[in-house]
Symmetry: C2
Subunit: 225 residues, 2 copies
């Protein structure tokens, strides 16, 4: 079986969460957010290598927390200045024999095993794929004092995990950093690689605000019933 | 004091909710969604005229429901084919002396009184205003088989209530229908009127899926504690 790798990027500072504890460490359904994320990937992809990338200053805190909860086996590495640098550290921590890599936001702890498994199967036939969901709201693009409507029917909300062939990913992250690199897909696009879109999950949100945590707790309670 | 009007548009069919009951009638925190919306506006704007626009086939159902709950005084009118037609019916149902009008999605039942009051004060100094919130996700624009990233920093998510000077609104809705009219602001923009953006609320979502209802219940429980 192809060797698989997972990079979980948990680098946020928690300023939007109005909490001194970075949001990836907040307790959700009885365990830290990032622990839930790690465990979901470990259950979905038995045998996969899991690397968690954290800011240097949070590594001791995380090791302390992880020792007190049931967290699947993972490697923990320090990230860099930009998300680009952090993912690069994650890639370097993977074994060279890894063939397919999933990169995931640590705070998207509600991702389902089903989405992870489906994406991992699909990546064997494409070079790069990302989950997206339809936009249900209306949107405007602002330009200084002006703003104009943008057609919702063409807009998709991008999620993670984003999956890549490992060789493609390594080549992509050998490029010089460019501010246009807003996620992993845009880095890989820098090589001219086509990004395949698959159907994501409405509930697979980034937990960034206190309201998001309330939603996440409610979703977990419902899925346990 | 200036005479104010509120048009609550409750026209959805509920197909996305996987429920035979249209989503505006689902029970949220002990009362139908649209009842909560009506009551929030009635409390925020004492003395305002409230018109609820419903599909013709739901009017009897709503009157039956409304009689069994505590719902503030409102007029109920039948809508039309497109949202444009429904809002037009709502405008026609308002008294001619109304000077400022707020138009709101019936399923945005989590809107706060504070947002409504702030918007109503602000509309006395501008012609048209809409609440928006920052986009926290990444977005792509799809074009056939291709897709490309759009800069999140310039993107805003549009909400309701959208507020207008009544005379501007009446002129706007005298225009012929155009498929570019995706919300009330775009109709008013058809006159060349500038739309002012104000800060909306992350929790002021459109209740369109079962997950949204779970979120809404959790938000209500939290605000009651």
């Amino acid at each position: 079986m192809a060797k698989r790798g997972v990079i979980i990027v948990a680098g946020g500072s928690g300023s939007r969460m109005q909490s001194s504890l970075p949001k990836q460490f907040m307790i959700l359904g009885g365990e830290p957010v990032v622990a839930r994320t790690i465990n979901t990937f470990a259950e979905a992809l038995p045998g996969a290598e899991i690397v968690v990338v954290l800011p240097q200053e949070h590594i001791a805190l995380w090791k302390n927390l992880a020792a007190r909860f049931d967290v699947a086996v993972h490697k923990c590495v320090a990230g860099g200045k930009e998300r680009f640098d952090s993912v690069k550290c994650g890639i370097e921590a993977l074994s060279p024999e890894v063939e397919y890599v999933a990169i995931h936001d640590g705070v998207r702890a509600l991702v389902s095993k089903r989405l992870i498994i489906n994406a991992m199967l699909k990546i064997e036939s494409v070079e790069a794929l990302i989950p997206v969901v339809d936009a249900v709201d209306s949107y405007r693009v602002v330009e200084g004092e002006e703003s104009e409507v943008i057609s919702r029917s063409k807009l998709r909300i991008v999620q993670t995990p984003q999956l890549f062939r490992a060789d493609t990913l390594r080549r992509a992250y050998a490029q010089e950093y460019n501010p246009r690199f807003t996620d992993d897909a845009t880095v890989v696009e820098g090589l001219g690689v086509k990004i395949t879109l698959i159907e994501g999950e409405r509930s697979n949100i980034k937990l960034t605000t206190p309201e998001d945590m309330i939603y996440a707790e409610a979703m977990l309670r419902q899925s346990e019933n």
